[in-house]
Amino acid sequence: MSTAVLEHGAWSRPGLHAQVVRKRRDGRCETVLHVDSVHTPHQVLRLESHLQCAAGLDRFDLDRAAQRLRVTWDPGQTSLPDLLAVCANAGCTARPLSTVALDITRRQESHAALKRLVVAGLFAMQAMMFASVLYFGHFERVDSVTRELFRWLGLLAAAPVVLWAALPFYRQTLSDLRHRRLGTEAVVALAVGLIFLASILSTVRGYGAVYFESISMLVFVLLLGRYLELRARHRSGALGEAAADAEPIASQRRKADGSLEWVAVAELEKGDAVHVAEGGVIPADGRVANATVLVDEALLSGESTPRKRNRGQPLVAGSVVVTGPLEMIVEQGAATSALAALGALACQAGRQAGLPTQDRAAARFASRVLVLTVLSALFWLWFDPSRAFDAAVAVLVVACPCAFALAAPVVASRAISILGQRGVWVTRASALAVLARADHAAFDKTGTLTEPHLDRDNIKVLRGGDSTHLLHLAASLARESRHPLSRLITEAAGQASLPVASDVEIVDGGGVRGLIDGRKLRLGRAGFVSDQPIPDEYLHEALLLADEEGLLAVFPLHEQPRDHVVDSLAALANDGMQLQILSGDAAPRVDKIARRLKVRDWHARMSPQQKLELIQSRRTEGAVVLAVGDGSNDAPFLAAADVSAAMVSGTELAQAHADLLLTDGIRSLPLAQHIARSAQRILQQNRRGSLIYNFAAVPFAAAGLVPPWLAVIGMSLSSLCVVLNALRIRAPKPPAEATGSPMQVQPA
């Protein structure tokens, strides 16, 4: 989405400043900037080296994947405009985000998990060291004082692990119990708590086995599994509060005396006159006040064909002005704009859809462990009461779900990292389990399944030469622009030597204009290219080339399925998925594409609300729905589906509500589903294997035959097996072309 570039000085206006900067209690100011050029390490390091030289800057934190830079500075020494200038010098356009973006919890989550992990690791190692003395006590005589000392030391070493590092398990268990659910955390919390208490009792009494090192190691291994999964998820990028990024913060209001002032969008009221430059984003819903303009309403319809709006006709916040400038009268404040409504609709849909399913396997496991423990205690109480307690604890240790609880995080992190290498970024790990079960797929059309394509044979020449010559003229303008449509022209011209264009200016949403051989030429959409009224057949689906006197040529654009879409959809259909196309576009165009893609079920002219309702009705019929889209208008239906995927080239609002991000288009979907299914299979194997180990060893523990050191070995070996099994998840074929590491992928 294009935004008019705000000169840095405008950010010192109090209204705007308050929107984006937060003043801390110690007098420092902080803000979060969205930075665009931080994809390669070179760019990152250049930005960081410039920032380090900035005076008055206290600290800065760059989150490369999320493209956010958090800065804290001393307002006495520097200011927000100065910092924006520093970023610009480093070659990076920085845009302040609203203060809502300051409260990102992702980094805090990752830090807290790492701290717990390391504490658990360090103290578990210490507990193991102390326990090894007691192990030797089995094979050689160790005097009772030493034994006593090392039992207490073991308790001391295990205490931080059980009482602090394992807190997430206890918290999750409590919250699960409040919702009447039982998950793996409950099993772990139960086991760790009971064994710790029993070991304390043994230590205080002076006799009986202690298992401090077992539970410390258990907590450490489980925290490691969860940390790896967290890390894999965070590497996938994607923002939680991306809706804030999508909305413009500043706009130009026309004052009573006719001059313009920059104000925060939140300050706009009904009746304000707002000026939007060509290429700018309309900040609020309103009506056109000057002459006819062309606006790009991809936001609502998903279609990028510009629409004409005459004086008095309504405008939607978030659409882009193609030909301008635009003077408008605001009708609704930003909070009630259509964009905000889409965001709210998506959030609401997401909340209704996203309740986690109960982990029934874990619940069964927990109850079985308890039953076994009680049974063996009862048995020994009857047979030899003095051994009842020890036998019960031994059973609890051996039935301990180390491998079982490790199974899910390890499989999830492996699957996520493999998918990451293949260009599918997973933002919610639970999505993979649902993807494995998905049987319905609903696709948006434009941008997801199709892309524009230049029809070289049908170039319509109006005057001024033959089609090849005009194509070369167009290409010499087009090569200055990175817009996908310009690239089509440049590619069509091929390797021919092109005339040189000077004074080239690129207008966002409109096209390119420049000077070739003394002639002023314009290439772009209708309306930008010529002020003359253009016959409507040229308005849609074409790029036009014109000079000062009028139109020269028309380059028709046809919609074509993206590479590999036909194959990917066929692969999905073969796997048993039912396919559907939902589009906001007109019926004939949707029909044409659906025919080519061999999809029988398609719907046209759908509003975001209608797409949402269709998905919901499918879900109530019992289907598990995968939704794929790319535009802001897709955000509600992405949020409502069981699992959703968005294109990385799509809008930020769509990406925020999707579980998967596809960097390579639909091509990776069959692979993603294959890996999700294989991950589920291996997860089941892991769980079953660990259950078999746990329950097979119980009789031995009940008989009192399992000393602590053997219990620890059993726990470690079973966890190792689970991890090695998870490594068996692999992609079926090597990639045909390298997709590159996540560092080098540039979202379009």
Binding site: P41, H42, D63, R107, V119, L122, M129, L153, M743
Partner: protein, 64 residues
């Protein structure tokens, strides 16, 4: 036995110190970006501050 009485508290103190240092490192975001630093030795001009690059530009102009 005397050695143990000294070594055990020392080892516990070392662990606590290690944990404290680690907490400091985490709070200072040392573990957030694990990809960029490995490229650092391979890049030529990353040590340039804005002043240095200005200098280099001026020298280049003088040479012309």
């Amino acid at each position: 036995m005397n050695a143990l009485l000294i070594l055990i508290p020392v080892s516990l103190l070392l662990i606590v110190a290690a944990a404290a240092v680690f907490f400091w490192a985490v709070r200072n975001n040392q573990f957030d970006d694990l990809d960029t630093p490995e490229i650092l030795p391979l890049l030529d001009d990353v040590d340039e501050t804005p002043e240095v690059s200005e200098q280099i530009k001026e020298e280049a102009q003088h040479d012309d």
